[in-house]
C-alpha cells in the first residue's frame, strides 16, 4: 500500500512534468514534439535522478552524523560548489560545461577539506567533527562567494544568485546520461551499507561489537553520500530540503531499516523533485522559479508538521 502510493506518486509526477510546461503541447502530439523529447523528458529524468540521489545521501548522512537534522548540503558541499561556480562566472570561464565542472570541483575541494578535518583526531573518522567542520567550511566558502558576488557586476550577480538557488533548466540528454552512469556507483555503495547503518544507530561501540567494520562504513557512507551530492549540485545547483525532508517522511512511513528506507528515499526524493520542478516551470510561466524555492516552500511546512509528530511519539 505504502509502496503503491509512492510509485503512483512518482509516475504521476513524471507524467505531469512531461505533459505540463509553459509551451502548450496538445496531448496527441506529445510523442512527436521536440520540446517534449529534448527538454521535458530529460528534465523529468534528471529530476528523478538528482532528487533520488539527494534523498539517499540525506538518509545516509543523517545516520552517519547521528543527527536527524543533517542535510547533504550541510557538510560544506553547497558552499564549495557555490564558490566554484561563482569563481567560474567571475573569471568569465566559458563553455557549456564550465559551470557544472567548476561547481563539481568546488564541492570536491570542500569534501576533501571536511574529510581531512574529520580525521583530525587520528585514524578514526569523527562524525561530530564532520558536521562541525562541514558547517565551518561551508560558511567560509559562502563568505568568499558573497565577497566575489558583491564585487561582480549586476548581470553576472543575477546569474550567480539564481544558480545558487538551484534549477534543472540545464537538463539535457547529456546530463541525464552522465548522472545515470555516475550515480549508481555511490548509490550501490550506500545500499550495501544498509545493515551497518542500522547498527550505527546504536552507537559506534555497539555497532562494532555486533560485527560492523565501523571505520570502513563511516568512510564509505561519507564519501558515497558526498559524491552523490557533489554531482547533484554540479548539474542542478543547491536544491534544499529534498535531502532533509524526504528521508524523514520515509522513516516515518517505512521505519528505520535502511534496506527499505534507502530505496524509499530514492523514489520519494525523485518524485518530489520532479513534482516541484513542474510547479517551478508552470506556476509563473513563462518565467521560472528556482526549484529550490519550490522544494523549500513545500518542504518547510511538511517538515514543521513532522517535527510536531516527532516530539509527540
Amino acid at each position: 500500500m505504502r509502496w503503491t502510493l509512492l510509485i503512483v506518486f512518482a509516475i504521476v509526477a513524471l507524467l505531469a512534468s512531461v505533459v505540463m510546461g509553459p509551451a502548450a503541447v496538445p496531448l496527441n502530439e506529445l510523442l512527436h514534439s521536440d520540446i517534449v523529447w529534448n527538454l521535458r523528458v530529460p528534465r523529468a529524468l534528471l529530476a528523478l535522478l538528482v532528487g533520488g540521489s539527494l534523498g539517499v545521501a540525506g538518509a545516509g548522512l543523517q545516520a552517519l552524523v547521528r543527527n536527524p537534522l543533517a542535510d547533504p548540503f550541510l557538510l560544506g558541499l553547497s558552499g564549495g560548489a557555490g564558490l566554484g561556480a561563482v569563481l567560474a562566472i567571475a573569471l568569465h570561464v566559458s563553455g557549456p560545461w564550465a559551470l557544472p565542472i567548476a561547481a563539481f570541483v568546488g564541492a570536491l575541494a570542500a569534501l576533501g577539506l571536511v574529510y581531512r578535518l574529520g580525521l583530525i583526531g587520528g585514524a578514526a573518522l569523527d562524525p561530530r567533527i564532520l558536521l562541525l567542520g562541514g558547517v565551518a567550511i561551508g560558511a567560509f566558502a559562502a563568505a568568499v562567494t558573497t565577497a566575489i558576488v558583491s564585487l561582480a557586476d549586476a548581470a553576472e550577480l543575477r546569474n550567480a544568485f539564481l544558480w545558487l538557488w538551484g534549477g534543472l533548466s540545464g537538463a539535457s540528454w547529456d546530463t541525464v546520461l552522465i548522472i545515470a552512469v555516475y550515480a549508481p556507483i555511490p548509490l550501490v555503495v550506500l545500499f550495501a551499507a544498509s545493515r551497518p547503518l542500522d547498527l550505527l544507530a546504536l552507537g559506534e561501540e555497539s555497532a562494532g561489537y555486533l560485527g560492523a567494520d565501523v571505520e570502513r562504513v563511516k568512510r564509505r557512507v561519507y564519501l558515497a553520500a558526498s559524491l552523490l551530492t557533489a554531482a547533484a549540485v554540479a548539474v542542478s545547483g543547491v536544491i534544499g530540503f529534498v535531502g532533509l525532508v524526504v528521508p524523514h517522511i520515509a522513516r516515518l512511513t517505512w521505519g528505520h531499516r535502511h534496506r527499505v528506507l534507502l530505496p524509499a528515499a530514492f523514489l520519494g526524493g525523485g518524485a518530489l523533485l520532479a513534482f516541484s520542478d513542474t510547479l517551478a516551470r508552470t506556476v509563473v510561466a513563462p518565467r521560472e522559479l528556482p526549484v529550490g524555492v519550490v522544494t523549500a516552500l513545500i518542504g518547510v511546512p511538511v517538515f514543521a508538521m513532522l517535527l510536531r509528530r516527532w516530539t509527540i511519539p
Binding site: 550495501a192 546504536l202 552507537g203 555497539s206 561489537y209 560485527g211 560492523a212 522513516r251 511519539p313
Partner: protein, 267 residues
Amino acid sequence: MTAPLLRLHGVRYRYPGATQDAVQDVSLSVAPRQFHAVLGPNGSGKTTLVRIALGALTPLVGRADVIGVPASQWARQELARTVGVVPQREDNLFPQRVRETVLLGRYPHLTLWGAERTQDQEAVDRALRACDAAHLSDRWLWTLSGGEYQRVRIARALAQEPQLLVLDEPAMSLDLKHQMELFELVRGLVDRQGLGVLMITHDLNLAARFADSLLLLAEGRPIAAGAPAHVLTQETVQTVFAWPVAMQTVDGRPQMIPLRKREESRA
C-alpha cells in the same frame, strides 16, 4: 586441552597521552560453562579490560586471545559470531521495536545483499524466549522498564549465537528484583546453554553469589583472583574499597556488609 574462549595474559595498556597505565599485568581466562566476574571500584580499569578482551584496544604488553587467536586479529563479523557483548551504554538514534533491535544481533550471520532467513527469525525467537522477553516483541524500546530493556539487549547478544557473552555493568540502576532476575538469567545461560560469561560489575555480593570465579582490580592492577571465598576477604575488600566491612557467608559464598563508620570499632 582446547583453548579457553577468552584468555588475557599479563596485559598492560595505557591510553595515548595518559600518565599511568589503565591496566597492568592482568590475566584472566573464561572457559565454556564458566561465569567470570571482574570487580573493582570506579576507574579501576574494568571497562578498559573488556575493550582489550574484544580487540577494540591492543595491549601494549601481553596477549588477549579469543579461542587462541589474538582478539585484535579477528575480523569484526567473525568475532561477533563468537562473542556477544552488552555494552554499558548505548543510545538508539531512532525509535525501534524490540524485535527489530534483537534482529540486529543476526547481522554477523547475514550476507551482504541477502534477506533475513527463517533460521534468523528462529534465532531471534529463541533469544527472546531465553531472556523471557518474547511477550515484549512488538513493544517500542522506549516503553520498556530498565530491567526489560537489559533483557532485550541480552537477547540481542544471544541472537548472535555466541559462545562467550560479555556484559558491562548490566545490573546497574536496576531494583532488587530485576537485579536478581538478571543474575539468575545469566547464570541460567551458563548452566543450560553452556555459554562462557565475562561480566563487569560493581556488585560484590551478587557476583560472589552467582559467579564461578572473580577478578578484583584496583587502579588497573589485579588484587586477587579465583573462587569468591578466596577473593572477597574482609581485609581485601576493606583495602580496595577503602571502607570498613563485615563479611558473612550465604550458600557458601562470601557476602559483604558495609559498616557505618562508628561501628568500625565493634566489628
